[in-house]
């Protein structure tokens, strides 16, 4: 086939217009979300004292942090799905959840505490946290990668890592409703480690799956 024939063929296929990456990514994540929710409800479930916990601002802060991570990663990943896009200027969005977390740690420090700092940081659920967040995030990570495949990321490993943060943020939002450790110190340590692990898996998978 010579190039002129190819060009005519491509023009003949011009009627086929693909959906925007954002739409495909959203649909993909929405179809994986029930899997993660069921996974969460079967192996963990919401903590029994959730009604009283909701009055604790540090319990609520966990959701602000995890949703901030998911949303900033979503924005960055959609940006990176464009071939001409680089991480410059956008990657800083991922500092938003860290900023919220730092503010939370600061305000906890100013309040009188029953437990010493190290006890709050180590908490009771660190191992559950480190295994549950990656596990719940897996269906979402696969969905995010499938959605982003529809784009044209020229940095596949980086985009995969951001997809990892996106799915870890969503999974951590579920997990936060189970976990009884509400100290921002616990969140900063264990949630972050779990998210980094998912991002590493995402980078590895992305470097293969996201090439176009």
């Amino acid at each position: 086939m010579d190039t002129d024939q190819l060009i005519r063929t491509l023009a003949a296929d011009n009627a086929h217009q693909a959906r925007p990456v954002g739409v495909v990514l959203a649909l993909s994540l929405l179809s994986a979300a029930p899997v993660s929710v069921v996974l969460f409800l079967t192996i963990l479930g919401v903590r029994p004292d959730v009604m009283t916990a909701m009055h604790n601002p540090f319990f609520d802060l966990k959701f602000v942090v995890t949703l901030a991570l998911a949303l900033s990663a979503l924005t960055v990943s959609l940006h990176l799905a464009r071939p001409e896009a680089g991480p410059r200027g956008w990657i800083w969005l991922l500092l938003i959840p860290l900023g919220v977390l730092a503010a939370g740690i600061g305000s906890e420090m100013m309040l009188p505490q029953r437990l010493p700092m190290m006890t709050r940081l180590v908490g009771h659920n660190s191992r559950v946290c480190l295994s549950a967040i990656p596990l719940i995030s897996l269906p979402l990570l696969v969905a995010a990668l499938i959605g982003l495949r529809h784009g044209a990321p020229t940095r596949p490993a980086l985009t995969g890592a951001i997809a990892g943060f996106l799915s870890a943020g969503l999974a951590a939002t579920l997990y936060a409703a189970h976990c009884t450790d509400d100290s921002p110190l616990f969140v900063a340590t264990w949630y972050t480690l779990a998210a980094l692990a998912v991002a590493a898996v995402g980078a590895l998978a992305g470097s293969r799956m996201l090439r176009f």
Partner: protein
């Protein structure tokens, strides 16, 4: 150069609105520029420049399948060069060399005379032969025999819609095969 880039942007906008003729003109316009890039990349990597046309076709396929990632409010050229650079690096890597393609090359190339067409293309034809029968027949009919979608539908006893689907799937799997080979 500036003028040509503005023209590309206009043509791509029209193409996305459904103007097939504008799309064809755009592809014909970018082909020589992309060809010059491919030749330069091959020459730098110490490879024979007669493989350039295979790379040109891969780039055009990627432009086609990923055109929905172009933001119609942005200029077209930076998007095109990002796609071309990505495909060129991939193609050169597959040919066994680690290469670094400088983005400045793209700006330089634009100012140069477009290279003459090289007829030799093997890869697309090889992969085409290995597609599922229906996709292969439709692509063969439309691309090689230059039959219209309507006449292809009649010839293969398919609906026009089915021909369109097979055509698009064929182009997508052709691209996937070229990438994974």
């Amino acid at each position: 150069m500036r003028e040509r880039e503005d023209e590309w942007t206009g043509l791509m906008r029209a193409a996305l609105m459904g103007d097939d003729a504008a799309y064809q003109r755009l592809l014909r316009g970018i082909a020589p520029v992309v060809r010059a890039l491919a030749r330069r990349g091959l020459a730098r990597a110490g490879q024979a420049v007669d493989q350039a046309e295979d790379i040109v076709q891969e780039i055009l396929l990627a432009v086609h399948l990923k055109r929905h990632t172009w933001d119609a409010n942005a200029p077209f050229a930076p998007w095109l060069f990002a796609i071309a650079r990505n495909k060129l690096i991939d193609a050169l890597r597959r040919r066994g060399r680690r290469v670094f393609v400088n983005i400045d090359d793209f700006a330089e190339t634009l100012a140069e005379e477009p290279a003459a067409e090289t007829p030799s293309t093997r890869e697309v034809a090889t992969q085409l032969a290995q597609l599922p029968a229906r996709q292969r027949d439709v692509l063969q009919s439309i691309a090689v025999d230059s039959t219209s979608i309507k006449d292809t539908a009649q010839k293969l006893a398919m609906s026009e819609g089915a021909v369109r689907v097979a055509l698009h799937r064929g182009l997508a799997s052709l691209t996937a095969r070229l990438r994974e080979k």
